[in-house]
């Protein structure tokens, strides 16, 4: 029998080792697995390499993980924001390495890892500072830059509904990096709003098939005050 449901976020992340590469889904707050990040902070793993579009906002989530000095390196497209003070401080202090990647290249490198692609050529960033030192090639009339996949030990993502096989649906723009990160990590841990019986998810609407998911934790949404 397959049962990927895990009772708590703490149990789902108990085996994350120091030095692990952890993908964290979300774009801004949409799709950010806040409770999983809190559990990772409590768990204590350090020297992490984190893959996310940003580098944390305000004081919660990824920003708190950086603030707790658990992150050695961050791979992202847009670290600098008005409220990225934890990242800014750690980066300026030289405590944190930054690999800046154009957003589409970041997405495609993650996708390539999950799809078993060894490398790919993209036109993005050709002739810019972000392509310096990289292999390039002219194919047809266009110039391309060679890029490699990003694999991860863990992916922490947020979905809307899951069954015990790990099939997932998402909610609106909270989908963002979830499906590609789920495929790119050895162990994908998902927090969902709701768990359902097998067969309740319409197979036509499953976005991430359970083969890409190892662990599912239900996090009840906070009730809004009436």
């Amino acid at each position: 029998m397959i049962d990927k449901f895990i009772a708590s976020a703490a149990a789902a992340l108990a085996d994350v080792a120091d030095g692990a590469t952890v993908m964290i889904g979300g774009f801004g707050n949409a799709g950010m697995p806040a409770e999983l990040i809190d559990a990772l902070i409590a768990q204590g793993a350090k020297n992490l390499t984190v893959v996310n579009n940003n580098a944390g906002n305000a004081d919660a989530g990824l920003a708190a993980l950086i603030g707790a000095k658990r992150v050695r390196k961050i791979i992202c497209s847009f670290p600098r924001q008005t409220d990225s003070w934890h990242f800014d401080k750690a980066y300026r202090a030289g405590e944190l390495e930054l690999e800046l990647v154009p957003q589409g290249t970041l997405a495609e490198r993650i996708r390539a890892a999950g799809a078993g692609i060894g490398a790919f050529y993209t036109p993005t960033a050709f002739g810019t500072r972000l392509a310096e030192g990289k292999e390039t090639r002219c194919i047809g009339e266009r110039d391309y830059v060679l890029e490699y996949p990003i694999h991860a030990d863990y992916a922490l993502i947020k979905a809307d509904r899951a069954d015990r096989w790990g099939n997932l649906t998402y909610r609106m723009t909270a989908r963002n990096f979830g499906p590609i990160m789920a495929a790119a990590a050895k162990c994908t841990v998902v927090q969902v709003r709701e768990t359902v019986q097998l067969g309740e998810l319409d197979p036509e609407s499953v976005v991430t098939p359970g083969i890409f998911v190892q662990r599912v934790v239900r996090i009840a949404p906070l009730r809004k005050a009436a």
Binding site: N53, P102, G104, A107, E108, G127, T128, R129, M172, N176
Partner: protein, 216 residues
């Protein structure tokens, strides 16, 4: 001379976007274009974070944190809208499916190079987002920016001094002073602010400009 204000610039860009176009509007000034798209045209707005068919801002109290644009502002979805993951979203951009993108910029060169992600200052924290993908991917790359810096220097330059976002990719520049096409043989002025002469614009810009070819 009457400079265009931000809303007039946005309206001028919107006028050039045809019915049926798929369009990505960059963060900041370009986002204003959405408010000026002619109501009689069906134009589908794309955002990098995985949405096509963005509608107007939600009414106060109706925001949903799962429905945002690339600027992380709350939006709504039009009938016919759709959601997709990040790799598909950038496949649309890189795969030449978007008809237009509108980007802000620090500088644009006469060859159509654009610099909009990094000032190059040693202490600056760089951030690139989706700008480099949009610059190489959209069928038409439109730039919307003030013509001059606060110090009065032209942002249209012979060669960009800031690090490039993309090389030879800009098709048209919209500023508060003029609309300028980037062509193989140089810059062609399409529109001028009221009361501004081509000679005066050329003096302010500091690079050669070809004469007016007024668009309809």
């Amino acid at each position: 001379m009457k400079k265009l204000d931000r809303n007039q610039m946005a309206a001028r860009v919107a006028r050039d976007i045809p019915d049926g176009a798929y369009v990505n509007l960059g963060i900041g000034l370009p986002t204003l274009v959405a408010d000026h798209l002619p109501k009689d045209r069906e134009i589908v707005l794309h955002s990098e974070n995985g949405v096509l068919g963005i509608g107007p801002r939600p009414a106060k109290g109706m925001e949903d944190e799962d429905l945002i644009n690339a600027g992380k502002e709350p939006v709504t979805l039009l009938k016919g809208g759709s959601f997709f993951h990040h790799a598909d979203s950038f496949g649309m951009i890189r795969g030449r499916h978007l008809d237009y993108c509108v980007l802000g910029a620090f500088q644009v060169s006469v060859a159509g190079d654009i610099a909009n992600w990094h000032t190059g200052a040693p202490d600056a924290i760089p951030a690139v987002g989706g700008a480099m993908d949009l610059a190489v991917g959209a069928k038409n790359v439109l730039v919307m920016m003030e013509h001059l810096t606060k110090e009065g220097k032209s942002k249209i330059v012979e060669r960009c001094s800031y690090p490039l976002t993309g090389a030879r990719c800009v098709n048209r520049i919209y500023t508060d002073l003029a609309v300028i096409d980037v062509k193989a043989d140089g810059l062609h002025v399409v529109d001028l602010a009221e009361g501004l002469s081509l000679a005066e614009l050329e003096r302010l810009t500091g690079v050669p400009l070809k004469g007016l070819e007024f668009a309809a």
